[in-house]
Point group: D2
Chain length 312, copies 4
């Protein structure tokens, strides 16, 4: 009830503060007898790690996942899969000055309002570091549904429209050198999704995907299909062949590509602080695998839900 | 698990097909000993009813709520509150031709994909009529949190920016006469919200509000604070005094006004069919009280959640 | 969270006070396309109704179920099934003297402790009348799992061991005439259950069945297999051919008959009051269909849960 | 949904196979700002450890808990508390012969029925070793509710009635030397519980306590108050001053001592195997702290639930 669990039939429970001993996740609801390649898991997680592109932070994070339970001889047992990632770079000396510094757009002040206590050494639970749990969950979720693929595209990075990865990185490096940050927009494409996922009332597929995406720090807007463009359309202008509804009708997937769009706000840290190695000028670059992971988990959950009712 | 329940500590379970015997809702988690004025409930529900403004459908719906349980001598008992609204205007003769007609942007076809059966006489569970359950829930939720107020503003109705109610209605009447429909944008303002609501991880207040709004049929985009405008901003351009984060930092309310924005798609029905009395050219007008109701319920749920942990 | 919902994939939400307008239930998670014979539902419910056997109360309750939603042309739609049963015999004049009377072993006093308010005209939510919702749920649950049958046997009624129905009724009539009440023990047999139901940790089948049975008013003990007799056994005395473990090993069904045992306490009302028509000397007689219904729902829930993970 | 989570507002998610890398637990819903003494936690856990009394297994288990998250400078943060206990004594060489050996009364065979795969080196999730997670959860739960105390008493150990601890140990040592095992009965007393805990319908306090206790391996019967003795009573024989209802009326605590009784079956292993060091002749001795832990968690959960609705 404190909101550290996501999903119903496929669920993850996330734990760990950014500057505590370890981050981790317990996955409950993984079907049994599925082969898991732990090196693939690690590769998937590396997409999130900073240092991968020069545009993002240079901090080296090992992020080596330790699987504590749920696998036996390379296969899932059907029991909870616990994965721990130790936090290695705790330099507590740096942190005393952060004790009473509340950063705008962060959880620092609201955490004190809510709990009356916080680990001032970092973002705690609201830290981007928490997303490592989601990526582990996303990897396992991706092993459940056959034939689906999920990918993300950069629609906008600061002033650039639909840049290539290289263009985006070059742009962000310049931005960083200036102590500046920027927002951006990402498109998530879920290709060949199963039909019939999502429920007609509160658990519409679009609603659960919205929650999934909006639960990521820094995401400030969610759209599907034509999204905000719909506000400029008349009914007669919408032709069904353009997949205007983004693969979801009446809250339920229709088998067409599911198209989602999320907007990120600029990182709050600007000025001299932003020039140092520890800060991303736009977290969207690293967050793409988190977006995909949240999409995988939402889909896997609804896939299992639907299977329960359909019969064999 | 079929997604007809919304909320955890304050929850509603919704039932009813648009052309079945009755719609209804069971509210579980209403605190006891709260005075309820049933005539106020009815007034609140009338804001949703069509026929209220000329721009919306002229169909007369009685929508008189019958409270079946949970109230005693004008006060809540703490037990589930069941409210039923009978469906009065079932004209089954009209519906035979709808049997195999799947309307684009509706749940008709996806319902068949999912269930292998549907009540072809209407939208079933995905019908706008289902929202009556949400409005009942919203009314009760609004009785729980002191001092908060929630209101909606029209930001865009088709071609009009920030129209008055009268301007919007006149515009929509013209649109309807032409057999046309349009989309729109609504701003929801939650004033004087409690601080500390929302959880730092998956159940961020922005995430649960996103799910709440995106669970409404016709809603295609959700934003909070500056929303999509953030994509055009540099970090240095964001000043904290403009409430850029819309009252939510790190997923937790900070006590400032919570500002949300939702976009509606145009109604799918256009052409001659759209000219008749039964269709809204823009459902946003009627949906405003549904938006507010979903906001009330999300807030009440998080209010009770927070109270559980805070102690007395 | 106020505990009026039972089950996860097959769930019921119960509502209604014993002396309010109506009792009712919303079933969520019924698979679609299942044929339902409403007259069978009514017959199933009649097994609970008093007046059926002379040993139980003579009050006439119509208990005619009105299906408000979820069925279309005799089949389930997959949407929530709401069923309402109106309360017809509210004679409010009788009830003033009950305002401050707290009956031992009832919820009267604890309800005031908990809510600070109660409907003094009857047992409210803790009334036996609430079980009508469970019986409706049980009937629908029984339509989901093929080949299973569930029945109950009287092991003990007051001083009688394994009486026939007629012997029990005669005994109870005599007891009632004396203003006395008695306890009893019932055995529930679930025959030909599916294998593999139940989870190895908290949601062991025996644990969920225990919760199901102990949630019924008047039930004071739950056993499975040899139950309390195990306390008198040595390990070497247990032979596997006697089904000592009652069809459940390690919390999971093994395909053998599941054998449960529940004990009822005597009705609290004794003396002159107990002689009148409104009181059962032993509620176990009427409660048998409630026991079976709780078993059906628990089984259906676990059946759907298992199907979600097994694949097709 | 695979049943590895227990509780709603105070919840634990348990993970780990008995012969995997580690056992562990994630506690979600611990209030913030509560002082925690980790050495007290360890002491509490030692009550479960074998080797403590000679009557139980001699296997040395270190069971040193590593707190991975949720504590900061000796206080709870309000974020999830993850605790890991490494499994140290995995001797994989012993286990090949267990591959196809299905022990009666264990989960060995039903696990294969359910998952089609199992870790044959031990009981997996159904192992008694899993209860370490529950004891950690129980310790934290016990820090939430002021003034309550919970204790267990031996009512029956094999042939002994109400033995002292020493008498029981001596008896069990003899039994073990004979390769025999026995069942037993334990009484759990919850003293000075808060009033008003438990819900009147499905989540009656007796029902949730029953589920809690019956979710422990080896527990075969649950009673409260007079329990099975009620079957031999007439209504007129029940006097309220003896606390016949065990502190619970209408499913809700009345403030009196809550009295529960659980029965354990004899350990299945008998004969020569039972004489070796690894087997308990009666797991009830070690399980007492598990019983108490389940009681603590059930109480803490209902305490927080009630606080949510009561207001400040």
């Amino acid at each position: 009830m404190r909101g550290n669990t996501f999903g119903k039939l496929f669920s993850i429970t996330s734990f760990g503060e950014s500057h505590g001993k370890a981050m981790g996740v317990v996955i409950d609801g993984m079907p049994s007898n599925i082969e898991i390649d732990e090196s693939e898991l690690h590769r998937f997680m590396l997409r999130r790690a900073p240092g991968q592109t020069k545009g993002t932070t240079n901090r080296v994070e090992s992020d080596r996942p330790q699987v504590l339970s749920g696998l036996f001889e390379g296969k899932t047992l059907g029991s909870p899969i616990a994965v721990m990632i130790e936090n290695t770079n705790q330099k507590s000396s740096d942190y005393d000055k952060l004790k009473k510094e509340y950063r705008a757009g962060h959880a620092d002040e609201t955490t004190m309002m809510k709990y009356g206590i916080r680990d001032h050494r970092g973002g705690g639970r609201a830290s981007g570091r928490e997303t490592v749990a989601r990526v582990v969950g996303g990897f396992f979720a991706s092993q459940i549904i056959p034939d689906v693929s999920i990918k993300t595209e950069l629609e906008k990075v600061g002033d650039l429209l639909s840049p290539s990865e290289d263009e985006a990185i070059e742009y962000l490096e310049k931005l960083k050198a200036d102590g500046e940050s920027c927002g951006g927009v990402c498109v998530i494409r879920i290709q060949q999704p199963p039909r019939g996922l999502g429920e007609p009332c509160f658990d519409k597929l679009k609603a659960d995907l919205a929650k999934a995406m909006m639960s990521i720090g820094g995401v400030v807007a969610f759209e599907y299909g034509l999204g905000k463009e719909f506000a400029d359309k008349k009914g007669s202008m919408i032709s069904s062949d353009e997949n205007a509804f983004g693969g979801i009708e009446g809250g339920i997937s229709n088998g067409k590509e599911i198209v989602l769009k999320v907007t990120f706000k600029p990182t709050s840290t600007v000025g001299d602080k932003a020039k140092s190695g520890r800060h991303d000028p736009c977290i969207m670059m690293r967050a793409r695998v988190v977006l995909e992971s949240m999409a995988w988990m939402t889909l896997a959950d609804h896939f299992l839900r639907q299977r329960a009712y359909e019969g064999r």
